[in-house]
Each structure stands twice: as structure tokens, then as C-alpha cells.
Subunit: 314 residues, 2 copies
């Protein structure tokens, strides 16, 4: 059953107590440098530091009463794990987060701070899936996939909903693409609310499975992705791909150098902290600046969780 | 002639085309950590990256028609130099900025980007003053002191004016103190608009001339200041000290470790970029948290100009 505008609006109401309505910022210097008029939806200021809070909150709040008591589970060493932990904590239910034992201390600490139970596994896909299956068997908790989940996609769609409400007459909306949860949600909100706007994604060249998938018309999984944009390593899912195929006009790939340069521009000129994955759409826009000249472009800034002790600036 | 509320309100109107009305942000995590309710006036988002734009704009726009044509001059390798350059550029008049030849490239570039003429000097106080005197003799430009100047103080006072307008019923207002331009302006606005609020400053222990001066009741110049808060190395002036003496309740000194810890909290939790000097009031509040428990405290975040390639986080 396709996700409707009503679903998205209901999700926006449902999650409202658990999320911030983040601001839309502009920056004269970046307008001048890009030749476009940019509207940045600042999900780096979102609770738990990323847009992932929207999907996680919607998934948690959509559970039945009996499922809710048993809690939620996922595998993630990134923003989804933190977001699900925080969403579960906010409503007082258990969260079980499967993480590789090799995950950075800062990420383990963040999840633990939100009161989740961390279950460590070996750093392989197989171990991760096996461990998650064991956790779910033991706890009867509900698996909330980081992106291939309709409640999650619907929750992520609320970022573009707010962006469209808070900026006037966008010609294009941009988001990064990893597993496609945010991009598919963004594409749906744009399709329903601003059908004349083009939805364009940025993707790291070192993890360009979505670009490849659109080219050949079927999901091409990411193989050995290698990019600084560590939130975008995952491959599209069977729930996100069809939406992206139908509603996304173009995926622009960018190098890590272009990502770091765009990230630095935002840090230096906007004085806000974003993570590398978050800089990908601006990098894509600057790479193909001619395509956006004079246009009003909304860009979803996805998150601000970085390790301040290892930054890519030199 | 003392600076009046009318002066401050006129300055606010005058500079309005040249500055941003910066947002007042809150942060649940920092409220929880501090035990107070904090309202951050984000001058790190100000034009040219710091509150200094307010004083510089007010000084530039207060010049007579004939003085305006000859331009403005100052010595500064920091935010005041950038701000004066940008203010002058905005109204199309020359700016002459005296900087030590040893200043960081990034600061030279910023001033040059705003179209100012940089005049280099040896890195001594004597050379700086001599060079500035030569520049003024040559150009007949008007010297705009970084803080010991009534137009500058009045301009800086507009930050607290906006903070008071945009937050309700503050019990205290905090700012850092270097030369005292911002602190004296803040104290004046609070005195006129919110007389029941306490004005409290944070100062680096390694540059505690304002603290010393208040203790003994006369200006004690900074000798060999040594702190990471490089915007706060200067000593009070004869225009700022009397205002501070009259209207500032307390100056709290903090170590560089405390400054870096507070800076890191703001970066990590608020996802915004501030410079070390800017973290000093929060460091002071956290150091004496009991004094602020349960209070509504406005904090002026002064600036966001940092060199991303040499950050103090480890």
C-alpha cells in the first residue's frame, strides 16, 4: 500500500512531541558562491543529532500497545541506533541496539546514554543479522530497520514536509542517499506537496549503488563502499528503490574531496556543525552549479554527529 | 556624556541594514547539565562571524559625511578588523587595517576579502601604534578603537537589547570580557531594560585584568596574557571600566581547560561553531553552577571565527 499524504501528515502530528521543528537557514555567502538561492533544513539540530529521529519516533509511536511493551531492536552503529534508543527512551520502552564490538567509543556511549541495551557482535554482516535475530527471539521486540520500513520512510518524509512549509516556491529539493529512507520520504512529500519541484540526490562516488541502480533499473547492492560519508554506505532496499525510481529526477555523485570542501564551506560560512554525509547534496549542487543557477533549492542537512577529535580539515 | 537608552535604540535602528538579527537558541541538554535555563544569543551567526559587526557598523554609520569619505582605520588582527572592513565595504568607504605581519594567513585573507587595505607592522605594541598613526596621517581616516569608543560600545549594546527582547524575564545576563566593549554595552542595556537582572562576566584566568581591576577599583592592565581565548587578551579602557564598575555584579575567572570543555559542550550538543573566547561565560556558569541553579540566564555567544585546522579538542 503506497504511503499517502495523509500518512505523512499523521506521522508529523504523531512525532511532534518527540522531535524539534528544525529551522530553515539561509546564507548569503553560499548563495553567492553557488549562484542559487539555498534553503537549508537543519536536521543537524534535530534531537539525537540527525533526521533519523523522525523515522525512529514514527516507528516507535506506531507500535500496538502490546508490541510497545516489548520494545524495539535494530542493528546500527550510527544515527539510527541513537535515534531509536532516544525515541524508545522518550516513551519509556526498551531498545536493543546491535553494534559491532569495533564501533567507536563515542557511538557506544551515545547509545548507552539514551538508556538502550547494546548487544555487541563481530563486525560482519552475518554476525550482525544473527545477533539481531537472537535478540528478537529473546525479547520479542520489534525490528525497526534503518530505512527499509514504511513507518521509517513516512517519518523521514516529514523533514521535507516542514521544509516545503517553511520556504516558498522551491524549484528543487536535495537530499543525500544511502539506504534511501530519507530520499524516498523526501520524494513523496515533494510529489504530493510541490510536484513541480525536482528531487535530486547527492551520493558519494565511493558508494554509488543508488546511482548505479537507477541507471540499470534494479537494485545494485553497494560492494565495498569507501567514502568519508559513513552514513551513506548502505544499499537501497526494496521499499525505498521503487519510490526513488519513480520520483527522483537525478542522482549526482561526488568525490570525497568535493564532500570535504562542501562540509568545510558550511562549517566556516554558516558556523554550524554537520557530518560528512550531510555535505553531499551541497557538494553535488556545487559540482553541477550550472544546472541550479538562479533556482531556489531546498537542501536537507541530515545530521551533525561528528567526532571532533578526527576531522577531515587540513 | 553617558550613553542613554535612546542612543542604544538609535544605534539598533541605524545598524539594522548591516547586521543580522541573530537567533536566541536553547538546548535541553545544557539546561540539564547546568541546572539553569539558558538562552544563547548567537552572535557567532552575525555578519563577519562576531558581535563586533555591531560596534563597527555603528561607528561607520555615525561618521559625518565628510569623514565618511576618508574612511576608517584600526589595529586588529581579530574580529574587530574583519568587522570594520566589512562595515566599511558595505557602505563603500575605505578601511585601513593595521595587522602584525605575523598574523595568521586566514585572518589576513578574511580582511582582504572584505576589500580593506591591510597595513603590516612588526608584532609589537609600539610598532602597531606608530603604524596606525602614520596611516591616519596619510589618509585622514577616522580611528575606530576596538572597544574604547562610545559608538562601538553603543553598537555592542544592541546584542543584549535583542536578547532581552527575544527572551522572557532573564535573571542574569552573561558575556565575556576582554577590553570590555561588549560587557559595558551589555551592562547598559540590562541596566535600562532589565534592571533586576544581574550582569555577570566570564574572564580567562590567564588574562584576568578585568577581574583584578574590579578588585582594586582601578584599571590594571593585562600583563603577558596567556590563554586560548585569543579574543580576550586586551585590557579595559577608560570608557569601558567605569560602566563595568558600576553595573557588572561579578567577574568569574576560568581556566583554559574549563574554556575548552565548555566550547566542546556547545559544539557537540548545540552543533554550532563558536570560538574559544565565546565559551568563557558558559565555562564560568558551569564553574559556579550553584549560583545559577534554576535561574534564567542569557548568554551572549560572541563569535564563531576559528581555524578549523587547529582545534583544541583531544
Amino acid at each position: 500500500m503506497p504511503i499517502t499524504l495523509t500518512d505523512i501528515r499523521r506521522a508529523a502530528e504523531r512525532i511532534q512531541p518527540l522531535i524539534h521543528r528544525t529551522p530553515v537557514l539561509t546564507c548569503e555567502t553560499l548563495n553567492r558562491k553557488s549562484g542559487a538561492k539555498l534553503f537549508f533544513k537543519c536536521e543537524n539540530f534535530q534531537r539525537a543529532g540527525a533526521f533519523k529521529m523522525r523515522g525512529a519516533a514514527n516507528a516507535v509511536l506506531s507500535l500496538s500497545e502490546s508490541d510497545r511493551a516489548k520494545g524495539v531492536a535494530t542493528h546500527s552503529s550510527g544515527n539510527h541506533g541513537q535515534a531509536l534508543a532516544k525515541a524508545a527512551q522518550s516513551v519509556g520502552i526498551p531498545a536493543y541496539i546491535v553494534m559491532p564490538s569495533t564501533a567507536p567509543e563515542v557511538k557506544k556511549r551515545a547509545v548507552a546514554e539514551y538508556g538502550a541495551e547494546i548487544v555487541f557482535c563481530e563486525p560482519t554482516l552475518q554476525a550482525r543479522e544473527d545477533t539481531l535475530a537472537q535478540v528478537i527471539a529473546r525479547t520479542e521486540s520489534t525490528f525497526v530497520h534503518p530505512y527499509n520500513n514504511e513507518q521509517v520512510i513516512t517519518g523521514q518524509a516529514t523533514a521535507a514536509l516542514e521544509l516545503i512549509e517553511d520556504s516558498e516556491g522551491l524549484d528543487a529539493i536535495m537530499a543525500p542517499v544511502g539506504g534511501g529512507g530519507l530520499l524516498s520520504g523526501t520524494a513523496l512529500s515533494a510529489h504530493y506537496l510541490l510536484p513541480q519541484a525536482e528531487v535530486i540526490a547527492g551520493e558519494p562516488a565511493g558508494a554509488d549503488d543508488a546511482y548505479q541502480s537507477l541507471q540499470v533499473g534494479q537494485i545494485i547492492p553497494s560492494e565495498k563502499p569507501n567514502t568519508i560519508a559513513d552514513g551513506l554506505l548502505t544499499s537501497l532496499g526494496d521499499k525505498t528503490f521503487p519510490i526513488i525510481q519513480e520520483y527522483v529526477k537525478e542522482i549526482i555523485t561526488v568525490s570525497d574531496e568535493e564532500i570535504i570542501a562542501a562540509m568545510r564551506l558550511i562549517w566556516e560560512r554558516m558556523k554550524i556543525i554537520i557530518e560528512p554525509s550531510c555535505a553531499v547534496p551541497l557538494a553535488a549542487l556545487l559540482k553541477q552549479a550550472d544546472d541550479f543557477a538562479g533556482k531556489r533549492v531546498g537542501i536537507i542537512l541530515t545530521g551533525g554527529n561528528v567526532d571532533l577529535t578526527s576531522l577531515p580539515f587540513s
